[in-house]
């Protein structure tokens, strides 16, 4: 019986059809998806913090309105993704509790600080840019609800990247001080952005299985290369340099070569020793616990309305 179900599942994957919520699926496929979608959802809502930090200090009303819209989008993206995860038989509350208990992760990129306004530009251009390269292939993920959530997210994400690029372009063409601020932000965000694609292929044990299941469509190194190739000409337009002396065009490969990534830093941040890990988690947990009264009040109000409606009907 299980063999038959498994064959049916594999046929669905091989024919490039989508797996939908109530279909039979191997437990390992379900678990992999819950872990990946939850981590993705957590990243969206933790990702509100480094930018939320700048809403009150944005340099103009226009920039403030844009930044608020962007941070609101991140909350929306978190919601789409928690909804997708819930179709796999977990609840949003369980996932949040796991995040708060430190038992599920979010992207390590959000553990870096945002000390200057130029960081809003660098996050939009590089961090959201890397996220888009990662996420576009996920729109074709074999699991239907995840793919559909990613389609919505990718549509909205492109405004995020363009507004970041625009911030950096303005600063780069501004005063010498503003140009230096833009360069400093790019210098700090470039390497962490490259790390967003995950460990190199030969050290990424789960990748092969995810690709066989068509959850993932390209390897970490392929996507990283694609991002580097896209970013170099964009940096030239910005008039900013990328902090890698080994970055050179390789005619034979048809790609840019780039320097070695410091994976010990990546591991340290993953382990909880990045510059802002503690701060991000404390803020998330306190927002959740201090917001409990709002959830309670809404639940009590809904209950009172139900009781009233029942009373007037009787």
């Amino acid at each position: 019986m299980t063999a038959e179900l498994e064959a049916d599942f594999q046929r669905t994957i091989d024919e490039d059809l989508r797996v939908e919520p109530r279909d039979w699926m191997p437990e390992a496929y379900r678990k992999t998806l819950v872990r990946q979608i939850a981590q993705h959802a957590h990243s969206e809502i933790i990702g509100m913090q480094p930018e939320g930090n700048w809403i009150t200090r944005a340099p103009s009303l226009r920039r403030k309105a844009i930044l608020m819209a962007k941070v609101q989008d991140e909350a929306g993206h978190g919601l789409y993704l928690y909804s997708a995860a819930e179709t796999l038989g977990v609840t949003r509350e369980e996932l949040l509790d796991l995040l708060h208990a430190g038992r599920q992760r979010y992207s390590s990129i959000f553990n870096y600080p945002t000390p200057t306004w130029a960081d809003m530009g660098a996050i939009g251009w590089l961090v959201d840019g890397a996220a888009i390269v990662n996420q576009v292939p996920l729109c074709r993920c074999s699991y239907g609800p995840y793919g559909r959530a990613m389609t919505r997210i990718c549509k909205e994400e492109s405004f995020h990247q363009r507004q970041g690029f625009e911030i950096l372009l303005h600063l780069s063409k501004g005063t010498a001080e503003q140009h230096a601020m833009a360069q400093d932000a790019v210098d700090r965000w470039w390497w962490p952005s490259l790390m967003m694609f995950g460990p190199p292929d030969d050290e990424s044990p789960n990748s092969a299985q995810s690709m066989a299941w068509k959850i993932k469509r390209h390897s970490n190194d392929e996507l990283r290369q694609k991002f580097v190739d896209m970013s170099v000409p964009q940096a030239e337009v910005l008039g900013l340099s990328l902090p890698d002396p080994d970055l050179t065009w390789n005619e034979a490969r048809g790609h840019y070569d780039f320097g070695a990534i410091d994976w010990t830093e990546f591991q340290e941040v993953l382990r909880g020793n990045g510059p802002c890990n503690r701060q991000r988690m404390e803020h998330r947990v306190s927002a959740h616990t201090e917001g409990a009264w709002v959830r309670d009040a809404a639940a009590a109000y809904a209950e009172k309305q139900r009781a009233r409606a029942a009373g007037s009907a009787a």
């Binding site: 279909d23 819209a69 919601l79 949003r92 509790d97 139900r306």
Partner: protein, 111 residues
């Protein structure tokens, strides 16, 4: 006792905290007049009114809709994927339900 959280509420006690679940709603949006409502996703809310407001904020931030339906997910009755073959089989051998089944002389117009 808070219904939002159960157990310890301090950040340090987060691992004992369990957040109370709220109702899950499925959201359907009519993108413009003349089109039907389409399923766009789901969300959590304590009651229908807040579900509608949340749906507006989550699913129509860029003018994606002119009308929204929200339905408690638990109220939806669905066919079972396990019987997808037998359930839809009766339609498989009735090709005569399609206009292309019929042989009509080529010179016949408007048919």
């Amino acid at each position: 006792m808070s219904s939002g959280t159960v157990g310890g509420t301090s950040p340090a006690g987060a691992e004992q905290t369990r957040t109370a679940p709220t109702t899950l709603w499925e959201v359907f949006v009519r993108s413009k007049r003349g089109l039907s409502h389409n399923h766009v996703g789901s969300l959590h809310a304590p009651d229908a009114e807040m579900a509608l407001r949340n749906a507006r904020d989550v699913y129509t931030r860029r003018q994606e809709g002119v009308s929204i339906w929200v339905v408690p997910a638990s109220e939806i009755v669905a066919s079972s994927p396990d019987e997808k073959d037998s359930f839809f089989d009766p339609a498989a051998d009735k090709v005569y339900r399609h206009p292309t089944f019929y042989d009509i002389p080529a010179e016949v117009q408007h048919l």
